[in-house]
Subunit: 149 residues, 2 copies
């Protein structure tokens, strides 16, 4: 096991022997990172939607767990929109890089709405959760409409 | 915006009009989910490794943030190893499904080690973080060796 740990440490080291500022070795890694974060967030957001829309029975604990995860995940994707990923073929529109201020505003709106959703989820009040879910869904859609093909 | 929200709600509803027990519409969705969770976890775990190995300067706050994320993410991938994904071509070995008890033990070991790493990261003690990182890395590797091609 000692050797195994050493090998794992060596592998982890290889993956990160970079300047501190460079969080991703290759632009493809940044794309994979942001897509993974957005995909996970979407999965857990949809589970809240299922309850907000009455498709599955409301379970306050499940709602809380999913809302907390969504808030945590909402902070991650943006680091993956690095300048060197603009050239890669993804669904990201050029405006992500051409209008960075507007893109940042859209991120901030979404993070704010899902933070509110997480706060409301802790109350266990389904009507409030429905309203907050709707606002958060709107913030997702606004960003997708503007910045995603 | 009202229409936009309604459309987003409808889209979210479509994605989740499933029995409560079925968390993923298609086996491919389950695979994407678990791969996304493992990939994100790996990225953030590597950032701890960079500090544990002295490749980047130690920053207690960065270590804490990454360790907290790794612990949160460590709980997610397992739901994606659904029985109907065994037939899909991935790196998962058949033993994931043939020896579920051992796979569960490997998951539990990893989750336990990263929980310890998160606890230790809060102390800001680099020597303890290095030790806990090594143990956590060993638990990742043990599971990969047994269950990943």
């Amino acid at each position: 096991m000692k050797l195994a740990v050493t090998t794992a440490l060596a592998a982890a080291t290889l993956a990160v022997s970079l300047p501190a500022a460079a969080q991703f070795q290759k632009p493809e890694d940044a794309v994979k990172y942001r897509q993974s974060a957005l995909s996970l967030m979407g999965t857990h957001f949809s589970r809240l939607g299922a309850m907000a829309n009455g498709r599955v029975p409301f379970d306050a604990k499940v709602a809380q767990d999913n809302a907390a995860l969504v808030e945590t995940l909402s902070k991650l994707p943006w680091a993956g929109f690095t300048p060197d990923t603009e050239k890669l073929r993804t669904k990201a529109k050029a405006d992500v890089w051409k209008d960075g201020a507007k893109f940042k505003q859209a991120q901030d709106n979404m993070m704010s709405e899902v933070a509110k959703l997480n706060t409301v989820a802790k109350t266990g009040n389904l009507d409030q959760i429905k309203a907050a879910f709707g606002n958060a869904a709107g913030s997702c859609k606004a960003c997708h409409d503007a910045f995603r093909e």
